[in-house]
């Protein structure tokens, strides 16, 4: 089992989500997050230019069985990228997942996903 965490641009959420559902990956958790990488975004407040050091992004967390890792990652890359790719398009982290438990039934492992 894998735990996939993707940090994506806010405006790409709809597209990524729709594509994931189409690929039959329907169990996802979405969070609003702030952070910084290499992207800079200049904001003007009352005529003064301000560079916020934290930029809002959307984080998607997906737990899946090993067979679904590639299609999940590929779908996110395909839909979250701006055109040919831009600074700020985000990152995907893939981790091994030790255990997954469905609270309702107590099931464990792959079938609980």
């Amino acid at each position: 089992m894998k735990l996939i965490t993707a940090i994506i641009p806010e405006e790409k959420l709809d597209e990524v989500r729709e594509a994931l559902i189409e690929a039959e990956i329907e169990r996802i958790t979405v969070l609003r997050v702030s952070g910084h990488g290499r992207q800079q975004e200049i904001v003007v407040q009352r005529g003064k230019k301000v560079v916020p050091n934290l930029i809002p992004k959307v984080q998607i967390t997906i737990a899946c069985n090993d067979a679904f890792e590639d299609i999940t990652v590929d779908t996110i890359i395909r839909t979250a990228r701006h055109g040919g790719g831009e600074v700020g398009d985000g990152k995907i982290f893939v981790q091994d997942l030790k255990e997954c438990i469905r609270i309702r039934t107590g099931e464990r492992g792959g079938q609980a996903i």
């Binding site: 405006e11 709809d14 934290l54």
Partner: protein, 440 residues
Amino acid sequence: MTWKRILSLVLVLGAGLPLGAQGTGPVNDSGATAWMLTSTTLVLLMVPGLAMFYGGLVRTKNVLGTMMHSFAAMAVVGVLWTVVGYSLSFGPNALGGLIGWSRGLVLLRSIDHTILPAGVPEYAFAMFQGKFAIITPALIAGAVAERISFRGWVAFITLWVLFVYCPLCHWVWAPDGYFFNLGAKGAIDFAGGTVVHISSGAAGLALALFLGVRHGYPKTAMAPNNLTFTLIGAGLLWVGWFGFNAGSSIASNLETARALTVTQVAAASGALTWVLIETIRDDKPTSLGMASGILAGLVVITPAAGVVQVGGAIVLGAIAACACFGMILLKNRLGYDDSLDAFGIHGTGGIVGALGLTFFIRDSWWAEAAAKSPGWGILSQLKVQAFAVGATILFSVCMTLLIAFLVEKLVGFRVAESVEKTGLDHEIHGERAYGLNNLN
């Protein structure tokens, strides 16, 4: 010269002028003037109220953009009305009565010393009417929320006020207007059922059809981001509406109190009915339903506030809630995207009010109408009302489509899909409504 001396000089001059004018014209009635100034303030309060009402209903990414639509109307029409709007609306007939016009009224120059026969300075009347011109285009924003550009909106409301609102206002409220002189005692539109609500509702519907649905509608759920705002907004609208309706008597007397009473009753009846329908149908009374019912009741009583009594107001409020609820269900079935139900509530409620009021007019009004035109009855008045409603819808829809087409071609009206996805707040205004998302 210190600023205190300048101020005292202004005060002396200001106090001297009306005294000089007293011998020739009507005398100022301080009671009526005080109420008109209060009403003017109350109607202005409805605009931030509307901004909150709409601002709470959109998604998080469009809160500021949506509230800016209302505030833009305050800024744009606030200037436009004094420059030419008042002249176009309340000047004497020009172009065969299609519109009013008086060069003297440009920048309100000729009313500097005028006290109206009602005992109210014309400045107070002009400013009161100006607030109506502000809120009417602001109402349209609800139909096209979350997908229009700011400059497109500014261009649209500028043209719309000049070519739709001002002519309609002239027809209905200027003493030499078309609708003012229909039938025995004119088409009844006390505070703007046709001019404000039907015209903006119909324009909203036309614009929603012209611009098309939001990306993802109706498949993606587009839930309100903050119904607390919406409730506060509905409350502010209710309070402001007392100025809107009771101020429309241009007096401070029995008629004013009558209008205020039925306004209160109709709003309450509308809210009660809407929540009742929801409870029976879906088992849950919602805060959005409460806010919508208040608005439906307020809209329906707007044309009727001068002629109906309490019983009629209760019935009209209840009918409006049913009709608006039904219209929103119908919208969901038909699939057009009147995003915040500008037509669903203002258009529908306005039509129900303008037609329905005929059946609840007080006896003294009928007596006066019969004295002017013998045998004048419900049917004859209903024809006049239906004509005013039909003409308003036709005029508003045609002109709105024409203006929308021009705006789309000249400055661009609908935003790009990427802007719509990120949200108006960030893309157009470079801001965000809620700071918690960005922990700087």
